[in-house]
């Protein structure tokens, strides 16, 4: 068969990619506090324990609040920028878009320390809001990348046709463009949400004394006896991520189908 070696390699590579994720539930349901083989027995205790740790609940709620706010603002900024980039030609376009997309290739620690220094110098005290500022900054480029392709897939004459048929520029955006890029918008919100929920480096620097979930987890990783609970939480997070991503992919595909284009795959 053609490409048999490549196929074998691809399967091995997937095993490499999925190895940590497969281990996660194994240890989360294992009844030993030591995270090592061999497994000793099945338990759901760690999940029960999860429900009792209030600091963790606070961190989860805090992270959810940050992630939802980030998703909304990053997507709003993304819609404006992606629309401007696709619909208009304006002076300094490449430079401006380059700057907005820069966080994509900037080490996160640089974003984190520079924001930290400025906020502290201006005398602000850190909190969830400063994490949101940082997360919106790094999520906006992802949102723009997703929405760019959504706007690019649109035939420009669709909006012109609506105007030609009597709609105003604004109502034709609402009636034609918005419904057609809506899958991209939803997909952008989900991706931004997921990134923010998982982001650690910026959150670690900017979180103040309201830890986000990853910051809380980081602190827990130092206490071996708490690890199984952390892994139980990790299992839930992974399950949540996979569900969200499947939704995002579903909407992305529907968007591609709606725009009448063939699918080439991928978020990025």
């Amino acid at each position: 068969m053609k490409g048999i070696w490549l196929r074998v390699y691809a399967v091995l590579y997937l095993v490499f990619l999925y190895a940590p994720i497969i281990l996660l539930p194994l240890f989360a349901f294992n009844d030993s506090t030591i995270i090592a083989f061999p497994l000793t027995g099945f338990t759901t205790n760690w999940f029960v324990e999860l429900t009792k740790i209030e600091a963790m609940h606070a961190a989860v709620l805090n992270s959810l609040f940050i992630a939802i706010t980030t998703a909304v603002f990053a997507t709003l900024l993304g819609i404006c920028a992606a629309r401007a980039n696709n619909r208009y030609r304006f002076p300094g376009q490449r430079g401006i878009m380059g700057m907005v997309m820069l966080p994509l290739v900037l080490p996160e620690i640089i974003v984190a320390v520079s924001l930290l220094v400025v906020l502290l110098q201006l005398g602000f005290s850190l909190g969830s809001w400063s994490v949101i500022l940082g997360h919106v900054l790094i999520c906006t480029p992802f949102s723009i990348a997703i929405l760019n392709s959504a706007f690019q897939n649109l035939d420009r004459s669709l909006e012109e046709a609506a105007i030609d048929l009597g709609e105003t520029p604004f109502s034709s955006f609402r009636l034609i463009t918005l419904p057609l890029v809506m899958p991209g918008i939803i997909s952008s919100m989900l991706i931004s949400f997921t990134i923010s929920l998982d982001e650690f480096i910026i959150a670690f620097f900017l979180t103040g004394n309201e830890p986000t979930l990853p910051v809380y987890l980081w602190a827990q990783l130092r206490f071996p006896q708490k690890l199984p609970v952390v892994l139980a939480l990790g299992t839930l997070l992974v399950a949540l991520s996979i569900i969200l991503l499947t939704c995002a992919e579903f909407f992305r595909r529907r968007g591609v189908a709606r725009a009448g284009k063939s699918d080439t795959g991928g978020f990025l």
């Binding site: 490499f16 190895a19 090592a36 920028a81 304006f90 320390v113 220094v117 480096i201 996979i242």
Partner: protein
Amino acid sequence: MRSEGANGLALVSPAALYAILLLAVPLCVIFAFSFWTQDYLTIDRTWTLKNYTEAFTEPLYGELLRRSILISGSVTLVTVVLAFPIAYFVSFYVAPERKSLWIFLITIPFWTSYLIRVFLWKVILGFNGVINTSLQGLGIIDEPLTFILYNANAVVITLAHAFAPFAILPIFVALEKIDRSLIEASLDLGENRVTTFLRVTLPLAMPGVVAAVLIVFIPTIGDYVTPRLVGGPDGLMIANMIQTQFLKLNNAPMGATLAIIAMASVTVIALAFVGLNRRFLRGPK
């Protein structure tokens, strides 16, 4: 009616202003900080190169930077070399309607909690980890392998895992753009599969490879979670020192200096790399 340019600028301005206020301005401030000094609890704002002198004379900083670049370089090499066959496989051997499923499968692990993933690599590579217990169980080794955790190797493996999709996607996109008739033309003109790959496919995929290299190399330098969790004392990188300067030693100017030096090194290396490959990047407009 406003002009097209004005409309575009007005629409892009929220995102642009946000990036200026929260990215450009802070970067400038960091740059300024790197020329200031910490005087106990206050910042001494006299301009001086003292931090830079210290950074270049104190061997620890140089060692950390060199190691960071070396580790990031190895990570990049390993990641891209491992990723290329996958991208090639999905682009050339997977049926078109199943391509997005494969890409989806490849991206899923990337979106799951980074901290926990890194931690799990510790579990896999550890003294009583998955690899050691299974190898011992199979009787292949007697003593647990120790060279795979708490050193640079562990950092490379873990980061190669974390950045896999970042390397695969750009290469995949570049491969997808290649007109398949070019490959048939090359075969028709007498090249075999290997020489066709070397003379046609690879050069045309280079923009994707270059993008993959940059997108893996640059953020890797800034990572400090992986070195802390799996790197041991020999695996620590410059980002760990930057973090220590800011949060533990409370010496923001020194941290800023190290951040600027790290960024400058990354930029120089990235530009040099792009320069070396520029003949591949001049695509048709």
